[in-house]
Homo-oligomer: 550 residues x 2
């Protein structure tokens, strides 16, 4: 948050924060883009954009764009005083970068010199001057404008700056609290400038792809809405009418389905969503998702669209990106990685070592194998990293023998081994063993989720694995009436480097099937969704969609 | 609202509704675009957009795009049954338009024929068939696909439709309540489809102009925020912490100013805003504005940018639009039109007829003239419409003589005459006299507003004419300390055909000037805005902006 607030200390919603900060899921994906690549100067991307200028009084150039081709030109620059050097130079900064201003040393210009020397850092000034090549040997190769400097001819202080609580420098480590309190100072750093500008550009490319190339219609849906049954806890907004409240929606799910019924065959929106669940590292009370819904489409169609969308909007400086993305069933993901959002940048898959224990005398293993479906799972740390045994992070050896701490975990082996696998990777990396290449982006589809799961507090009952609007896989539909727990849903998750960055489904468009699922299977009160059931009965087309950053 | 709700019966926020419905100010401008021009078929604009296709199972064509060049082609179409005709034809509709499907009459295809004849209107079907030229003499020139028809070879019912509460036809007048309750049916009408798609395209052009051509950064700002002093009543959102509430912001005003302090020199956002003031024809509890802020800019720069923006995003089918827009001072607007948002599509200006009454014996006029600043104003209905005297709508004759009902209104003549002027225009139009050309768009800047106005309930005190962050006109700044009521603000309103569709200002960037205005002039508690004052003191650049649809 730009201001102090116990609940919403999360900054302008889109801003990347340091690790452990509050970053929504869409942000999580952007964080990947941003944190794991080499630093790129801001000005390259940004200054290219200034194609057409509107009439602004000042300035006529940006700091970062100046180079040898501007030599001898008279320029007007506006920016912030980064620092003074040797009473000779002011380093001036704007969004595009830094430039060196030469303070006149001439006696006749002592007034101007004194004005420069009296500047506090981060004050805002306007400088007029002439660009010149720096004297030989004084070039700065590390600075994009390091070949030139601007000989100041006049200077106006537009605003003076007080003593700040921290310096605007990349290498000054600031506490998270201080960064949040003085968000407007934190955002002046090149890194934060880059992140904000990259997000804006990437979102723009997505809009071009959807709106201009594929005829999607950008529709804004209301955020003052009524309560949605089930799902996350919702924020309420009291109305002037006592006892009546709006709800802030968790997603535009119902609206977008109704837009399909309304004949808006291709809908998208960058939708603000709300969940009253407090802040976690990857959850914020408000967040934004790229929300998409399409009529007359199947699962392959949605997946293909999203691959095209990401490919099109992918930042050039992040390297090659390949489509289509690989795909994996939920069953395979759980079997091989112990999780439904596997990080496929590295191996160390879960393996079944049951054959190694045929006829074992180890009691707890014998017991486990006697149970129905009993098995023995292990993580295989491959040859290349076996040397890490010396740092004791591999509780399961490549040969399959088990270390004792695992004995307590046998009951729910896979998810636990899945977590262990990730912790192994982290530990190995802490000790300098490369496991995950930070510059690669492994996208992955996970499909064929179960449509229902046993309720946690009442395993006899079923609840929706995602939400009650997901359509069954057609060949499983007949099982709805006999063995609903065996039905797979037409649901797909998009996973990036072990983070779920999107999810969607083909929806139910048949009112009686929707009613059966709500009423008979989920035992929910269908009257709460009567408006949706009525809409499905009013000529609803088959439809499906996805939300990125959900 | 898509669903019934007493408070939020306003539909998806962007939707144009019929007169008297709930339309926000941004919408008001779109409504102008939409209501006052001839109806354009949807498919032209929309079908051009389908440049690149992603892999979707079905269909391979849209209804509205078919023409003679598709003759003999095998096509798959998905859409809604518009109606059946003579047991021979089904008229199929999708977003792009209508096409005629020929039901096979062959005995061997009686099953298919019966399936067609059993269809209810608005059911969703998939048809495969071959395009053929209609037999000679059977072409329909009124239909864009009227040269061809599709001979059905197979048909699948994707969803059947119940009996609907109203028909999806332009000419069926529906009540506002029914349209709101069944929004998904209302939106199927060509007019609503066109409106939604036009808005999406126009907004996309605006984004291109700002983001791609001018290097603006699209930044999302939080909507869960703290209370802003002054202004409209805000919605509150209770937190989990008893007694603590978020506020839903009326606008991102503070955020965008802080972004300027943060060095985001060109910011824009399509921002959702909230006002807890109930629904009026031109006010909704939530609405969207095009929010813009720029560093190192002056009033002329902002105005020029907006002219460029509107020119660039102007729909082709709305005719020529000229920039720059004319400009008028607040004083001129009040003097000539009696209002600060004059409809300049027609004359009938307020004129001073004081000379005609020199030496008059009419008592109340004599009295009025004796008062300080006393004057006589009249509306001049020009020659061309003087014939409307016969329908008694011109209370003031062109020769300047006054009708008696005006005598009671002399105390606050201009705003009242301003309203009268508009009512005259409406009345004249009711009687068929053309006054305002419904196809023209008169944009107008109104500038040089007073910075402060006397408070309504305490005229000794001053309040901000717009908001307390507006900077004074530089040459008036010294009057702040002596005659603040005489200070003009660097505020500008954009007016279209008598509607205020935008407003903005150059902001105060000097902390001590901001403090003086809050504390000494407005007598507000400056501690409520201490974060902003602190930010202005931390190297705030000069900046200004605007909001369209405010």
């Amino acid at each position: 948050m730009l201001f102090q607030s116990s609940h919403a200390s999360c900054g302008l919603t889109v801003y990347e924060t340091s690790r452990g900060g509050c970053v929504g899921r869409l942000q999580a994906s952007f964080r990947y883009l941003i944190l794991q690549v080499e630093w790129q100067p801001v000005h390259r991307a940004a200054s290219q954009l200034r194609v057409v200028e509107f009439k602004a009084k000042e300035p006529n150039h940006t700091c970062g764009e100046l180079c040898w081709s501007h030599v001898d030109e008279e320029v007007t620059l506006c920016g912030w005083v980064q620092y003074l050097r040797q009473d000779l130079f002011v380093i001036l900064r704007d969004f595009s970068g830094l430039v060196q201003i030469l303070i006149p040393q001439d006696e006749s210009k002592s007034e101007l010199k004194n004005a420069f020397l009296g500047l506090t850092v981060e004050s805002v000034i306007m400088v007029k001057g002439r660009v010149r090549r720096r004297p030989e040997g004084q070039e700065n190769k590390k600075m994009s404008t390091g070949e030139i400097e601007v000989c100041a001819e006049s200077m106006e202080v537009l605003n003076t700056c007080r003593k700040l609580p921290f310096e605007i420098k990349e290498f000054v480590k600031k506490s998270e609290v201080l960064r949040m309190q003085y968000r407007y100072l934190d955002l002046r750093s090149p890194r934060m400038q880059y992140n904000l500008r990259l997000r804006s550009q990437m979102v723009m490319k997505m809009r071009e792809f959807l709106c201009n190339l594929h005829g999607f219609v950008d529709v804004e849906t209301p955020t003052l809405f009524k309560r949605t049954p089930g799902g996350a806890k919702e924020f309420v907004v009291p109305t002037g009418d006592p006892g009546k409240f709006y709800s802030l929606p968790q997603s535009p799910q119902q609206f977008k389905q109704l837009l399909m019924v309304a004949g808006i065959d291709r809908y998208f929106q960058l939708a603000r969503c709300y969940r009253d669940e407090g802040s976690k590292p990857d959850r914020q009370p408000e967040f934004t998702q790229v929300d998409i819904e399409i009529s007359f489409v199947d699962q392959a169609g949605v997946m293909s669209l999203i691959e095209g969308l990401i490919h099109y909007s992918w930042p050039e400086d992040k390297g090659q990106m390949n489509v289509p993305f690989p795909s994996m069933t939920y069953e395979e993901a759980m079997r091989d990685y112990g999780v439904d959002k596997p990080d496929t940048r590295f191996g160390m898959k879960l393996v079944d070592v049951i054959t190694a224990f045929q006829g074992t005398q180890i009691e707890f293993i014998k017991d486990a194998l006697l149970k129905p479906g009993g098995c023995i799972q292990a993580i295989c740390v491959p040859e290349g990293t076996v040397r890490t045994e010396s740092v004791s992070v591999a509780p399961v050896r490549a040969d399959g023998s088990l270390k004792s701490p695992l004995s307590r975990l046998l009951s729910d082996t896979r998810p636990l081994l899945g977590k262990l696998r990730l912790q192994c990777a982290e530990l190995l990396e802490c000790y300098g063993v490369p496991v995950r290449d930070p510059s690669v982006f492994h996208f992955l589809w996970v499909v064929d989720f179960p449509l229902f799961l046993p309720k946690e507090d009442d395993p006899e009952m079923l609840e929706s694995a995602h939400h009650p609007f997901t359509a069954p896989v057609p060949e499983d539909a007949h099982l709805l009436y006999t063995q609903p727990h065996k039905v797979r849903g037409q649901h797909y998750d998009l996973v990036l480097n072990g983070c779920e960055i999107g999810g969607g489904s083909i929806r139910i468009h048949n009112a009686s099937q929707q009613l059966y699922i709500l009423d008979t299977i989920l035992k929910e009160d269908p009257s709460l969704l009567s408006h949706l059931l009525e809409a499905l009965d009013s000529g609803a087309p088959p439809h499906g969609g996805i939300a990125l950053g959900e």
